[in-house]
């Protein structure tokens, strides 16, 4: 595979997925600054390892896998504090009424999501927010499909509890 072709692939992957990767990382990390940084790092890593691209079955899952690992590592290295998080999403709201209407529910959803460990948040995001299949989630996280199902079950239970706690403190 000529190197221009793999570069082409990297550019193409960036085009297609960088916004989604950012959104995903934002949900995993809780702040846009880190998410922006790790989005960049994700694609730099994609670029560095581009020679392996032609052999990758599911390139989207592969990109997500890099991003997930970076995020989980970043979390493990210890985010010692979280700054004001979850605010950026509202910049997207153009209608203040929508914002007012939904902010309470959404806040609870986001807080519940944030309460989940990254290992559980990642599969739930991919499966429920992004609508991925179990197979693809498994490929993106580098774990078996059985493990994805177990994690999804646990993640959903954790989410339920956290959500209930948010709604009825």
């Amino acid at each position: 595979m000529a190197s221009e072709d793999t570069q082409e692939m990297v550019a193409d992957l960036f085009e297609r997925y960088h916004a989604a990767i950012f959104a995903y990382l934002y949900r995993l990390l809780g702040d846009s600054e880190s998410a922006n940084d790790l989005t960049q790092e994700t694609f730099v890593k994609v670029y560095e390892t581009r020679n392996r691209l032609p052999g990758v079955d599911n390139q989207r899952a592969w990109v997500y896998r890099i991003a997930t690992n970076l995020a989980i590592n970043a979390n493990k290295r210890g985010r010692r504090f979280r700054w004001l998080s979850w605010q950026q999403g509202d910049a997207l709201e153009s209608n203040p009424l929508d914002s007012a209407r939904h902010s309470e529910t959404r806040l609870a959803v986001e807080q519940a999501l944030a309460a989940l460990p990254a290992d559980y948040r990642a599969p739930l995001l991919l499966y429920s927010h992004d609508g991925w299949s179990v197979e693809e989630v498994a490929a993106a996280l580098g774990i078996s499909q059985g493990a994805v199902k177990t994690r999804l079950y646990r993640a959903r239970e954790m989410f339920r509890r956290a959500y209930a706690a948010e709604v009825e403190p």
Partner: protein, 897 residues
């Protein structure tokens, strides 16, 4: 029980079950209340998670990564990339460029005052805070009118920019905010000034956040007359309240963004000493401490130069040893750039942001980093200009660095001067026991109440003067290894803690005592040089408040001091309140629901559902609720779910006036990321659900043609036309003369009334540093024109679609401009020949006869108001009623009745 648990797990992936599993579950669930509830909860969970908004990445992400990877200064889509660089040079150039561009971009971002550098002519700029040569004019956030007479406009602008930056960095770049600053004190000498300002703002994020702060900003003036913020911006007071819950940890790092200016002279002196290698070596020696601060501010160069990590941008580039330095540097000397020793990652400098050790570490680090980047940059610049020109950011940065030191003296010790002007509790260092406290004893409350940053700077100044800069290394090292401040002092300075503290205080006292003399001298000069009508200055601090109160007491000052909430770059004409009857046909929303203004000027309640789209005859409403499209007959109250049999999540329904039986909306079915979704249609009877384009989703809304046949829309940001029954076709932008739209993302089209033209919103790297514009495409003449380019707010996504005046002459739209004084509603002539700013607001709609425009203006304090603009004069009037209304539409009542 085993089986029950197994089924519970299956419920978690219900939609992915195979036939057997699904049968198992479907048989069990109806018999088991707990599983029924669980399944319902999981489905609700999926809907809630799906509905979370999609934040947008940094708008420069694309150019940063793409430029670097492609070695191209412009954003180009795959397949159109510039291949001028020889393949063997490419990997190297890309690698170095990536580091430089990202690193420099990071520097630019943290500087706060410097925007993305211009791509225009290379101008040598010795002063870092000059506005960019191209691009939007510097932001005058809000005219602080007290300064119209008292504070020079230029200073005002800087102050406003600083404030806006502070607020934005605190608010994490949320929507534009109105900062209403009150200048408490202003002092100006011949070449420096101090502004003491307080402000309060409320912004709507996830929570309503109230930020009030007082900030002291020092400015210096270069002989050329350009003002810039001086080394110290001091924020003695700040409170941040979020109305929905307990206060979150506030990161000083956000505020720190504005502090990065101060180390320029130091870097410059290191550069001029032309002993970079020795400097870096020494610094590395000093810094035998882990530089892993916050894990985001790390520069590591491997000893064998095989890798360089610049973790601020979280970039890691291996293979630097492959750099063919010989190709770039005229006289490459192996080993000249003494690498930093690998820095062990054994400790963290900062666990509580805002602690002193972070500040010290940051200081040293930022200096070191600049030196290292300068050296790298020079190595590229020393070689072929071809490669440098690929990177305007680098060229511009180099120009600044190489321009030499400013030709003016640094001036009085402004940090200490300022301390002397502040209340007593700020005049002293906090006890060193606090300043050097173990990080886990410093809590947010302390940080917020008594910002230690400036004091840390004072402490650094003491160290530098007394021990020299080499003392920083041992200090940082000691801070990371010792647990008590006494031990820090003993280890770092081999001094007795009590004596050491006494020494610091004595030093500071001497500084503070010398200040009044300096100030009196400078104020005398200022009085002679600066025309200051209607204000009496007193250089004596004791009488300053009284003098200020006197000024305040005058009527003129009162008037001047009242910030005008609508002040903008363009003077706005205010119109008298319009006759309510002239509003007939206006459709607006309030929290109660949807309203229509009748011919008598009275509003009629249409529906308790405020969102959704009203049919042109005002008889029906389509809404998206829980991912389903509902049609409501407003007369009978009958409601029908149009998308019930479908699994897809359906959002953003629109009427297609030319096809009264069709509703167009976006549907989501897979993980493909597009905020609108797939272009989809359904009949008003719920039949004929039809995916019009199943290839890829759209970012934004489609524009539905009056011919009832054609839909303009974006497919993943590319312009497409869908023709009913015939399918989709890419609009080939390369066939259009005029503006080059290649590689730009396009969305939110709007048809001109004659349907010959489409106004798209385009996003990308435009000439002059802009990132967003209208692209008016003339489909008949194959001409394209970019209108009103501007620098769009990061994280804002695409603004709503533009809207054409009924005569096709004007286009009205909302601009999410980074310059708040230009952010709001604009009208432009379709040929770009004229434009007019109508003030803050969004989502304009035209009256059907084109005589007026209505739009919504949102203000955190007063909520939403409706603004009416007269299309003859462009004078605007805010409506007193309805309170908290937002404009939805303006329809022809004769069709409605």
């Amino acid at each position: 029980m085993m089986r029950h648990r197994k089924i519970e797990e299956l419920l978690a992936v219900y939609r992915s079950l195979d036939a057997d599993q699904r049968q198992l579950v479907d048989e069990h669930v109806p018999t088991c209340p707990s599983c029924t509830a669980r399944l319902a909860a999981y489905e609700e969970m999926d809907r809630a998670l799906f509905a979370l908004p999609t934040p947008a990445p940094d708008q420069h992400m694309r150019s940063l990564v793409m430029n670097s990877l492609a070695g191209d200064a412009h954003m180009t889509p795959p397949g159109r990339r510039n291949r001028q660089l020889a393949p063997q040079v490419f990997p190297f150039v890309a690698a170095v460029a990536l580091v430089l561009v990202l690193g420099i971009a990071a520097l630019f971002m943290v500087r706060g005052f410097v925007r993305t550098p211009s791509v225009g002519p290379k101008v040598v700029r010795p002063v870092l805070v000059e506005p960019p040569t191209v691009g939007p004019t510097p932001a005058i956030v809000q005219t602080v009118e007290v300064s119209a007479n008292v504070v020079p406009a230029e200073i005002q602008a800087i102050v406003n920019e600083v404030l806006q930056h502070s607020v934005k960095s605190t608010a994490l770049g949320a929507a534009p905010m109105d900062v209403a600053p009150t200048i408490r004190r202003f002092r100006q000498a011949d070449d420096w000034a101090v502004v003491d300002v307080s402000y309060e703002t409320v912004y709507e994020g996830m929570a309503t956040t109230n930020l009030s702060a007082r900030q002291v900003i020092a400015l210096q003036q270069a002989p050329g007359g350009v003002w810039r913020p001086a080394e110290l911006i001091y924020m003695p007071e700040m409170t941040l309240r979020q109305l929905w819950g307990p206060q979150k940890t506030l990161s000083l790092r956000h505020l720190d963004l504005v502090y990065y200016e101060f180390d320029e002279p130091f870097v410059r002196s290191a550069v001029e000493a032309s002993d970079l290698d020795a400097f870096v070596e020494r610094a590395a020696g000093d810094l035998q401490i882990p530089l892993e601060k916050d894990e985001r501010l790390t520069l590591r160069i491997a000893p064998d130069r095989s890798a360089l990590w610049e973790d601020e941008a979280l970039v890691q580039v291996d293979g630097l040893s492959d750099l063919p330095l010989g190709d770039l540097a005229p006289t490459p000397t192996p080993g000249v750039f003494t690498p930093l020793a690998p820095l062990p990652n054994t400790s963290e400098l900062s666990t509580v942001v805002g602690s002193t050790d972070l500040d010290v570490g940051l200081t040293i680090f930022s200096r070191l980093r600049r030196v290292a980047f300068l050296e790298l940059a020079r190595r590229i610049a020393g070689g072929t200009t071809q490669s440098v020109d690929e990177f305007p950011a680098l060229v511009s940065q180099l120009a600044m660095w190489e321009a030499g030191p400013p030709a003016y003296p640094v001036g009085p010790d402004i940090s200490v001067t300022m301390l002397a002007t502040l209340p007593a509790r700020f005049q002293e260092l906090p006890p060193l026991s606090e300043l050097l406290a173990p990080r886990d004893t410093i809590d947010d409350a302390w940080v917020l109440q008594d910002m230690p940053y400036s004091k840390a700077m004072i402490f650094l100044a003491f160290l530098e003067e007394t021990y020299g800069k080499q003392a920083f290394g041992p200090l940082v090292r000691a801070l990371s290894s010792e647990t008590t401040w006494e031990d820090v002092v003993r280890t770092a300075f081999t001094a007795d803690p009590a004596e050491f503290e006494a020494q610091v205080r004595e030093w500071l006292a001497a500084k503070v005592t010398s200040v009044p003399g300096i100030v009196e001298r400078d104020m005398a000069t200022a009085a002679a040089l600066t025309p200051l009508p209607s204000v009496t200055y007193s250089p004596a601090f004791a009488t300053q408040e009284a003098a200020y109160a006197e000024v305040l007491a005058t009527q003129t000052a009162q008037a001047l001091l009242t910030p005008s909430p609508t002040a903008t770059a363009t003077p706005l004409l205010q119109a008298p309140p319009p006759d309510p009857r002239s509003l007939s046909g206006l459709v607006y929303r309030t929290t109660d629901g949807l309203w229509l203004v009748g011919a008598d000027g009275k509003a009629r309640f249409l529906s308790d559902q405020p969102n959704g789209a009203l049919s042109p005859d005002a008889a029906r409403l389509v809404t998206s609720e829980d991912g389903e499209i509902w049609l409501s007959n407003l007369t009978t109250g009958e409601r029908r779910n149009l998308t019930e049999p479908q699994d897809d999540v359906a959002i953003i329904p629109q009427w297609w006036p030319a096809r009264p039986d069709a509703v167009i909306f976006g549907s989501h079915r897979s993980g493909d990321y597009a905020s609108f979704g797939f272009l989809t249609a359904v009949s008003t009877d719920g039949q004929g659900y039809q995916l019009l384009d199943g290839q890829e989703g759209s970012f934004e809304r489609p524009a539905l043609g009056r011919d009832g046949q054609t839909i303009a829309y974006d497919r993943g940001g590319k312009p497409y036309l869908y023709r009913w029954g015939m399918g989709s076709e890419l609009i080939d932008v390369s066939r259009f003369r005029g503006a080059d739209l290649a590689g730009l993302r396009m969305a939110n089209p709007a048809w001109s009334p004659d349907e010959n033209k489409l106004a798209w919103l385009v996003y990308g790297e435009l000439d002059g540093g802009s990132t967003m514009a209208l692209a008016v495409m003339d489909l008949a003449r194959l001409e394209a024109r970019l209108v009103h380019p501007y620098l769009v707010q990061p994280m804002g996504g695409f603004p709503p679609a533009a809207t054409w005046s009924p005569d096709g002459q004007w286009v009205a739209f909302s601009a999410y401009d980074q310059d708040p004084s230009r952010s709001g509603v604009w009208v432009v002539r379709a040929d770009g020949s004229q434009e007019r700013f109508l003030g803050a607001g969004s989502q304009p709609v035209w009256h059907p006869d084109g005589s007026r425009l209505a739009f919504s203006r949102f203000d955190a304090a007063s909520g939403s108001t409706i603004v009416i603009a007269d299309a003859a004069t462009w004078a605007v009037a805010e409506l007193a009623e309805p309170k908290d209304g937002t404009v939805a539409d303006w329809i022809r009542l004769d069709q409605a009745e």
